[in-house]
């Protein structure tokens, strides 16, 4: 593999969220020559939607995605309606910011207000996800905002996302049609023996207008040992994922989009100088991906 095009590097803003505000992240990326970012809704809300849009215009940064919609399952109709309304607002924000897609973390089992699962019906949760995406597509498709299902690692099936494989995401795309695609995050799917085949399947499936189903590509690494289920992701090259191999599958499937670095790391990268983190992302993108 030749090194990836440095212009494809994008920073998911979670990577330095502990150290910097979104405005500082945007300025930091501009300073480091990272031309794409993928911000989170809570960060945008804090800095203000219009202020963030103006800041992006002023710096010329583009989005590689917007994090995130989803969380469809809920114990009752009121909860599902609240999720629907919130997801529509997420679509509106993604449009305002010029995002190429809204990433969906679809949700796990229905939870109460305290976040405790109130059901063990995983198939039922998956049906709520399908129905929720279908309803959101009716809003997002005419508005021109693609939705990107992010299959999450099976260890998040209960509490974050009950779509846990590329095969499941592809099946939902097959069923629900245009305007829906997939965000491929290596952390979540690297273990899957069907990964190459399912990336190829996603690349083959194109919308009527030729749009690819492969909407995003997220990078980090799987550390051995991993000390926390959520907040112990590794920098590219520090773990066991064969990143160049997975990138080669994405490229063979026609993907030409951003390489978005997304690292949740409470005890390491979130404690480092954020300028050092950004410099490391750039260096590792060149040498380890």
């Amino acid at each position: 593999m030749t090194a990836p095009d440095p212009a494809l590097l994008s920073l998911n803003t979670a990577t330095v969220r502990a150290q910097w505000t979104l405005a500082q992240i945007i300025d930091g990326c501009a300073r480091h020559g990272i031309r794409r970012i993928s911000p989170w809704r809570d960060q945008v809300a804090k800095d203000g939607l219009q202020a963030t849009a103006a800041h992006l215009r002023a710096t010329g940064l583009e989005l590689s995605g917007y994090c995130r919609g989803g969380m469809f399952p809920a114990p009752d109709a009121a909860g599902r309606a609240a999720a629907r309304d919130d997801n529509r607002r997420a679509v509106d924000e993604a449009l305002t910011l010029g995002a190429p897609c809204l990433v969906l973390v679809v949700g796990g089992l229905p939870k109460d207000a305290a976040g405790t699962p109130v059901s063990k019906d995983l198939a039922g949760a998956r049906a709520m996800v399908r129905d929720g995406i279908a309803e959101l597509l009716d809003y997002a498709r005419p508005a021109g905002m693609p939705l990107a299902i992010e299959p999450l690692h099976p260890m998040y099936a209960a509490d974050r996302a009950c779509v846990n494989t590329m095969a499941h995401a592809n099946a939902l795309c097959d069923e629900l049609g245009d305007g829906l695609g997939i965000a491929v995050d290596v952390y979540h799917v690297w273990w899957d023996p069907d990964l190459a085949r399912e990336i190829e399947r996603a690349g083959r499936a194109r919308a009527a207008d030729g749009t690819s189903r492969l909407l995003a590509f997220h990078l980090c690494d799987w550390l051995v040992p991993t000390h926390d289920l959520l907040l112990d992701r590794g920098m590219m090259g520090d773990g066991v994922i064969d990143l160049p191999l997975i990138r080669s599958w994405m490229e063979a499937a026609g993907y030409r989009g951003a390489h978005e670095v997304e690292i949740f790391s409470a005890n390491h990268w979130w404690k480092r100088d954020p300028d050092e983190v950004l410099a490391t992302c750039k260096a590792r993108h060149a040498t380890a991906c």
Copy 2:
């Protein structure tokens, strides 16, 4: 679902390994009327193989499995030969103890002596697993010791087992033939959208002598939140797994074997009075499985 037959309850000895020696566990099970156990090799080595076999005979306890063989991938031929020899000893021990199967935790990426992965070649590791099982079958099959592949949760793909789905285990069984089956542990497979189908597939596939591929069924629960990747499993009923549903799939597929409780729980069950743990296992087997 009606409650399961209490006679099917088995204790995987890891469940109280922090509190009791194997001899104490055997006596404890006999005292609580738990008639089956599944011991670990290190515990057997500590108490002595022949002494353990005699103790089992004296108490009349039967095994539901023997933990464990596997760990096939290694960086070099010497490492793989060492794994082969060790696995043959595990087969011998399983025969001495009268185990119905030797459970295989197949291993992840090849590691150095310190346990650090030295390769990112997951497909290569999977090939080593296939070759290692094939070679071990040549030893175990004529000896009459079935091998049970235990697909492990994808979060263990790097360091413990690179067979992470029932589909992968079924494919290995299809390829390698008689004498090989599957240990279904709910903790590892509950999230899989193909679980019902793959259990049914395993039930349909029978050896020439009519033996089922479904060799073992392990119970515990998935806690939300889970605080540790390895040592934070829950007691049946304390988590989100629909245990009666999965048991119904096993039974529909013809499984009539033991229900083996296996709970690694450093901060909860390993700190409780082991008699209380055993009583809780019995109670939850009756009410939550």
